[in-house]
Symmetry: C2
Subunit: 415 residues, 2 copies
């Protein structure tokens, strides 16, 4: 069983947009025991797209195609698929019912161009899209089964999980090998140091395939293994994950691949502790990350995003003397911010950030990339200074946010 | 002149790594007037790679290939290129000198596997890599000129700029066309309605190519045109952008493709006004967006992210009676949050969000997707209720944040 993945659309072809769908789909297919041979990308050109679909059909057992199912005139995927299969387009009752239901439940008016989305190649099977107007469809071209999905990542992901993977599972049946993966999320070592530390795992466990994925600012170590004996695959992966875990030590965030906000949230919940945050240079990124985790209202109380010094004094209770004497970017200000926000929110812990994210605002003494983070606990409070040489504002914000969360994580774990 | 781009490597093929190189290269080539027809990706398999190189050679004038030039045994690109060109591999003096110099200037020891990197196909021209050990090379296969570059993004970028683009420029010479784009960012209409409104632009301006990009929750309308006469291309695009602008009206955020936080920030700066934000359900997303824009400290003063009701009362000054009588998710609470945060931060404007982002917390009266947004101005304050049926927590957070920013944008523009 081998598969190919195709992304369509002029935005991706021309480089205006990075295609993240293909990697996501490849990862899911490989995990399901399907070997992905190639990915490709073409623009919104009917003839080129039809030609590429025929090429894939001649090579692969499975094709997964994203994009071009929208309501506008540059959405030509259904027409290209029909052309490649030598079929015409027909209005599909089931697809039309889905689109009508989508608009009805949302009290929105369906337009004629939305009706166009119900036209799929004759003989194709509609795939349900619970989150958008574009139904997908499954279509056989020669000996290859194609799945056509929308290009909008959340829609694609929902449909891949709910419609495509179970369908492939059914088709592949017992011919499928067990292709499992362990994901160990880490923070605090560079990618190359992490790579050197864990490289030995493939000598210890020669069947294992090792992958490192930089999910900035985290590094995820992925261990892949496929085989017919599921029990053996599971046990070998467990042993290899334990080996990696021991090598990376305190830099491991989660052996289930969870990110920092999730990990810190779980630790707070276990301790029945609550958190308040005072953010200057991170500008709300810490709060935004924490509240992306469902259920975070169990432990997250408040974040005060104080860009202005006046807000630091008036709302968070930082002393004007500290600001005068040490400046806004200082260990002492960070500590007072953490203490202040912990107090006003009535939280168990307070964390804070104050720094220079750039591009402007750097000085010789405090260049862009400088951050002070504070941690206030029931018994004491600390402030620390770090320097991260990333240069880019958005990367600095992320790194600063991670530094504060990491300080809290180590405190919660007594590391 | 048309080009294809190929990424190689099992990490990308299997989805362990997202390929950002191809989009980067496509963007640079298109900007240089070269049409990119396809991208592809294959793994580290010698025969597949050689076959794909021959396929590209048969279709394209230019091929840009990344990855597989490293020192390890799974780096097979040079061998595959030699095989596709019907040549053997030879140790290239110039390449060897580059690698030796790289190690010498860094006081590092060169290993035999690094020496392997000096072996390139006979007849190929070495491309200088100033930042890594892997030289690239240029090689003609049939009528196609291939550029082989390392897969490490900073190395690839440096070499693309220093070696590949100038070389292409020289080859293409006056045959190069001007390929320009206008990006009009919009918010408030669905993709299909936007598409219908602007579809006529290709009738009015038949040379123009139209693309719609959903950058949730914004919709970007892109107009592409290429031609030999730069002045004509510019003028036609300007006229087409004006046409689109008139059709979309108040839903246009920016004719330069700027996103909502940037647009609102510029409006605040123009008016010398400042902003404070009170966020419940958006959990810091508004502040995070606003502070992603460099220079936002000119107008952004404070955001209070108050998940807990106590924080709404104690810090933002919402009245407990309002919370009791109307609940946290109510127009009145939203208004009081906006008024409170405006007051404590001393800002010109205050905006607020309180709603149910999900997945939990919904009721029959206030289902997941309900949000109340508040806007406090010098003279008055308002609260409004919206319902967005997206289902997903992260999408709801974004939509809620946009609703609040849009309310402010319309106020600032008196729309």
């Amino acid at each position: 069983m081998n598969a190919e993945i195709l992304a369509t659309g002029d935005e991706i072809r021309s480089g205006a947009l990075v295609d993240t769908n293909s990697a996501y789909i490849a990862d899911k297919l490989e995990t399901a025991g399907i070997v992905v041979r190639r990915h490709g990308c073409v623009g919104d050109d009917l003839n080129t797209l039809a030609a590429v679909l025929r090429e894939i059909a001649a090579r692969a057992d499975i094709g997964v195609v994203t994009g071009g199912l929208g309501p506008t005139t540059d959405d030509v995927t259904a027409e290209a698929a029909a052309s490649a299969a030598g079929m015409d387009l027909v209005e599909d009752e089931k697809a039309l019912a889905m689109i009508e239901a989508f608009f009805k439940t949302r009290n929105r008016v369906m337009t004629p161009s939305n009706r166009k989305q119900a036209r799929i190649p004759r003989g194709a099977k509609t795939l349900y899209n619970p989150v958008g107007t574009a139904p997908g469809f499954r279509l056989r071209i020669e000996d290859c089964t194609f799945y056509f999905l929308p290009g909008v990542p959340p829609e694609m992901r929902r449909m891949l999980a709910a419609e495509v993977l179970p369908d492939i599972e059914k088709t592949v049946g017992d011919g499928r090998t067990n292709c499992l993966v362990r994901n160990i999320s880490t923070f605090g070592l560079t990618e190359s140091v992490t790579g050197e530390k864990v490289a030995g795992v493939v000598r210890q466990f020669p069947e294992i395939k090792l992958g490192l994925r930089a999910k900035f600012p985290e590094i995820h170590v992925k261990l892949y293994l496929q085989g017919d004996d599921r029990d053996h695959v599971e046990k070998t992966l467990d042993a290899a994950a334990a080996w990696v875990n021991a090598r990376i030590g305190k830099y491991v965030l989660s052996t289930e691949g969870k990110g920092m906000p999730h990990v810190v949230g779980n630790l707070l919940r276990e301790k029945r502790a609550t958190l308040a945050v005072a953010e200057s240079c991170t500008g709300g990124r810490i709060a935004n990350w924490i509240t992306d985790v469902a259920g975070s209202s169990d432990y997250f109380l408040f974040s005060g995003v104080s860009y202005a010094n006046a807000a630091k004094v008036d709302i968070l209770g930082v002393s004007p003397q500290t600001l005068d004497a040490c400046g806004a970017v200082s260990e002492k200000t960070a500590r007072e911010m953490a203490v202040g926000v912990r107090r006003i929110a009535g939280a168990t812990y307070g964390i804070s950030t104050t720094g220079v994210a750039g591009p402007g605002g750097g000085t010789e003494e405090k260049p862009v990339g400088t951050v002070c983070v504070g941690l206030a606990m029931p018994e004491k409070a600390v402030g620390k200074r770090f320097f991260f040489p990333f240069g880019k504002r958005s990367m600095n914000k992320s790194m600063f946010a991670m530094a504060a969360l990491e300080m809290l994580r180590r405190e919660l774990l007594s590391l």
